[in-house]
């Protein structure tokens, strides 16, 4: 019961939690759709990534910071962030290596036009950017909201709410 009480204090009411449990999955799914179809319809890696980060933010608001950091620890989020950035850069370098010495050369086969599997490296770039943006924004939220400085404190007083418990 004590654990439940702690969670109640940290997050929002049961109604919000129940709705969030359903809606956040759909928000993240919609973000994935925006990313996957970025080369065909309005959207792309950046908006899709932000929408997915919005799903995580909703989870955090409804269930509290513990749930978010359990789902996506800071270390893993920063690893995903780096993975996205590195992946995008590696795709560009792969064009340099496999595509005849041109940075960002679209070296993959183009596939059928206006289908999901088409346009060579562009969908892969979208996925890398989406990974990067999602992880970046969740990290930004953690940096601004979870880690905090006590008001009027000195440098010694950097406090993480998670560790206060």
């Amino acid at each position: 019961m004590k654990k439940l009480a702690t969670e109640e204090r940290d997050g929002m009411s049961t109604i919000v939690r129940t709705v969030t449990r359903w809606v956040s999955a759909f928000i993240i799914l919609y973000g994935l759709y925006i990313v996957a179809y970025g080369h065909l319809t309005p959207g792309g890696g950046f908006p899709g990534g932000v929408i997915m980060a919005g799903g995580f933010v909703l989870l955090m608001l409804a269930f509290g910071k513990k749930r978010l950091t359990a789902l996506l620890p800071v270390a893993r989020a920063s690893a995903l962030d780096c993975l996205g950035a590195l992946g995008f850069w590696l795709l560009a370098v792969a064009g340099l290596v496999f595509g005849g010495g041109v940075f960002f050369r679209n070296f993959l086969p183009h596939g059928l036009r206006l289908r999901l599997w088409s346009a060579g490296i562009i969908p892969l770039c979208n996925v890398a950017i989406a990974l990067k943006v999602t992880a970046s924004l969740v990290l930004m939220l953690v940096a601004l909201s979870v880690l905090r400085v006590k008001a009027g404190g000195t440098d010694e007083d950097f406090v993480s709410d998670i560790e206060e418990e």
Binding site: I34, G38, H39, L40, T41, P42, G43, G44, F46, P47, V50, I51, A53, G54, V57, L61, V74, A75, S78, D81, G84, A85, F88, W89, A92, F103, F104, N106, H110, G111, R113, L114, S118, A119, G120, I121, I122, C125, N126, I129, K132, V133, S136, L137, L139, M140, L141, A143, L144, S145, L147, R148, V149, K150, A151, G152, F158, V159, S160, E163
Partner: protein, 213 residues
């Protein structure tokens, strides 16, 4: 009509920016930034740029939530630092200089909405080499080239994505690098512990360690 509407909305943007800087209440500043951002999104929609407008709206919603939450969570509600008169005068002078330079630069631009920006006035465009016989041949502007050849060359149905990730992928790489640097900076400034091994005093107090970055 459309241009007048956009001018009015851009004035909202300017007012929002000024209020965000001027007010001492952090929550008001956050809301003013929200006004600025959503007005920008409406302007982008009016300019028929749905891709950018989607991004802008979602970013604004997220930013508003994150900033309001972080403001409400902290004890600090107002900015208490006093404003120095010389600093404000300097800032005003800087803005005035930028404004004059901006007006001069905008005079040089082609009229709004007319794709007449020529690609390579003195040299032939790389995609469409000039024929030897025609010295006065019209060189298509890059926007027309993108629209006409985008699907063929990049195989991407969405022309905005084709520009962002193929024609102008260098810019996108730079943008990703900017975001990366911003997050690295925020985490480095706001983290609790360094990666250095904790001092004996910290060990005794039970804090320290390197598990939390």
């Amino acid at each position: 009509m459309l241009m007048n509407l956009i001018v009015v909305l851009l004035m909202f943007v300017a007012i929002g920016a000024v209020i965000a800087i001027w007010t001492r209440d952090l929550l008001s500043a956050v809301i003013a930034i929200g006004v600025l951002g959503f007005t920008c999104a409406v302007v982008l929609l009016l300019l028929r740029a749905p891709d950018v407008a989607i991004t802008r709206i979602v970013v604004e919603v997220l930013l508003l939530i994150i900033l309001i939450r972080s403001v409400l969570r902290r004890g600090v509600r107002t900015v208490e630092s006093s404003r120095s008169v010389p600093g404000m005068a300097l800032a005003g002078a800087f803005v005035a200089v930028l404004l004059v330079l901006g007006v001069i630069a905008i005079r040089e631009l082609p009229p709004f909405g007319e794709p007449v920006a020529l690609m390579g006035l003195n040299e032939p465009a790389p995609t469409q080499p000039l024929e030897a016989g025609g010295p006065k041949q019209e060189i298509p502007p890059p926007s027309q080239t993108y629209i006409k050849q985008g699907l063929e060359k990049t195989h991407s149905g969405n022309i905005v994505t084709a520009v962002l990730l193929d024609y102008r992928a260098y810019d996108t790489l730079g943008e990703a690098a900017v975001l990366f640097t911003a997050v690295v900076g925020a985490i480095a400034l706001l983290r609790r512990k360094s990666r250095k091994p904790p001092s004996p005093a910290e060990m005794a107090a039970g804090v320290g360690g390197s598990e939390d970055r």
